[in-house]
Amino acid sequence: MEIFNYVFMQKAFVVGILLAMVIPCIGVVIVLKRLSMIGDALSHTSLAGVAFGLIMGINPVVGAVAACILAALGIEAIRRKLPRYSEMSIAIIMSAGIGLAGVLSGFVKNSANFNSFLFGSIVAISDMEMFLVIGVSLTVLLLFLLLYKELFYIALDERSARLAGVPVKIVNFIFTVLTAVTVSIAARTVGALIVSSMMVIPTACSMQFSKNYRQTVLYAIGFDVIFMIIGLFAAYYLGLKPGGTIVLVGVVFLLFIFIGKKLLGVKG
């Protein structure tokens, strides 16, 4: 196929499919913890880190990772202080992140570089960035598998998980860092404004069919990989922006699933 004759498209598929496998792993847990908007808060805050990196002359991805980790820890700290209003923690950090990104972006000399983080640039990533995505993705996947049952129980019922012996605080901390790192890396490739959709939409699709937690995770990964492949093909052949196209493919899938279930009279 012509599309695979280009090195930049080969890289886009490698990076895209890896991210499509990793992002739903984080996304399923986030959705089940009722923190769906956390991806938005982190990705917006990552822009503040990007701007800071560009101003200071350091790698913007490193700046994004640092900003995301700080934001994620901030969300977790506020969530613990206000457990009944946990969504407020996300709104506070997101506002702070957007505000900071807005102010700092005014000092960035090369605005094109900054803007590439808004919608991503999966077809323009360097070799170094590709290896970074591969390394981070494999690490996140491995840790997700190792902490699979801990993350499941915490998402289900944090109190019972603690009574059963799950080290809730440590696992929550590791998961927070994993989320932050995943969002930062994904922001560079698929876009800061888009990454949270890649967490939530495949999970929403998956939950329409799954009969247990394991299926929910596997189906969400499957859906995200499909969205990524169709999105990249569509972007290439129709001349569209890849980040937005991938998300729109997901939204169309979800709509078809809802309509299909309604027409077939399937409950739930």
């Binding site: 190792l146 499941f152 129980y153 289900l156 019972s160 059963a164 799954s210 247990n212």
Partner: protein, 235 residues
């Protein structure tokens, strides 16, 4: 030995005193119940029993299964059945067997998945509460009564010495409530499992519990033993 032993325990949130010198003794193997109006301090007492609230700066003492609560760490000996499982698990995509298996965490251990032995324990717990045909079902697809039985099986799968239930039959119909209480009583009688249950259902408690405690404005006011409640269930 006493499963729960509180002597003159106080607890305050900020400057507001919620528990005011609570004395509570529940012998091992007995069935104790706690009643009280909303805001009486029941939820705080449950949180203390589950080790969620620090007692630093408070007066009085609290021993759980013979150990001072500050040194207590063997939480798998304590089974817990929450209230309102139905709201919590309504749309959660987990099967009944996954939920019960999760509670075998300390037996499965870090970085391992459940093996044949753990799966057998899950089946055994499900059989005990009559829910084995539902093991592959999504928890959210079950009725309120069935969900509470699943949560009971989750608590029982570790064979705890103390079972704490927090208003377990809220929103559950009469028939299923009756069946649920019968199961609890059987475990208490046949396995000498200590039961501590918070409930508003005074009428039923009178025929079930060995001891009924009543919490009012942070004070343990009345203690009634079986048979002392009148025909209306009033204390």
């Amino acid at each position: 030995m006493n499963a729960i032993e509180m002597k003159g325990l106080t607890f305050s949130y900020g400057g507001t005193r919620v528990l005011n010198g609570v004395d509570l003794t529940v012998p091992q193997g007995s069935f104790a119940a706690l009643t009280g109006d909303n805001g009486a301090g029941k939820s705080t007492l449950i949180r203390i029993l589950l080790g969620e609230l620090s007692l630093t700066g408070e007066t009085g003492s609290f021993k759980l299964l013979g150990k001072d609560i500050r040194q207590f760490s063997d939480w798998k000996e304590v089974g817990y059945v929450p209230q309102n499982g139905m709201d919590t698990y309504k749309d959660f995509p987990a099967s009944v067997e996954e939920i019960i298996q999760a509670n075998l965490y300390s037996q499965i251990g870090l970085f391992r998945f459940a093996g044949k032995k753990e799966k057998e324990k899950v089946m055994e717990a499900l059989c005990e509460v009559g829910m084995e045909p539902y093991r592959k079902r999504l928890i959210g697809k079950l009725s309120g009564g069935q969900q509470q039985r699943v949560l009971l099986a989750r608590a029982l799968v570790n064979r705890p010495r103390l079972l704490i239930l927090d208003e377990p039959t809220t929103g559950v119909d009469e028939k299923n409530t009756e069946e649920f209480y019968r199961l609890i009583k059987n475990f208490n009688r046949d396995e000498q499992m200590t039961v501590f249950m918070v409930s508003h259902d005074r009428k039923r408690l009178a025929g079930l519990a060995d001891t009924i405690f009543h919490l009012e404005d942070g004070v343990m006011k009345q203690i009634t033993t079986q048979g002392e409640a009148d025909c209306n269930g009033d204390l």
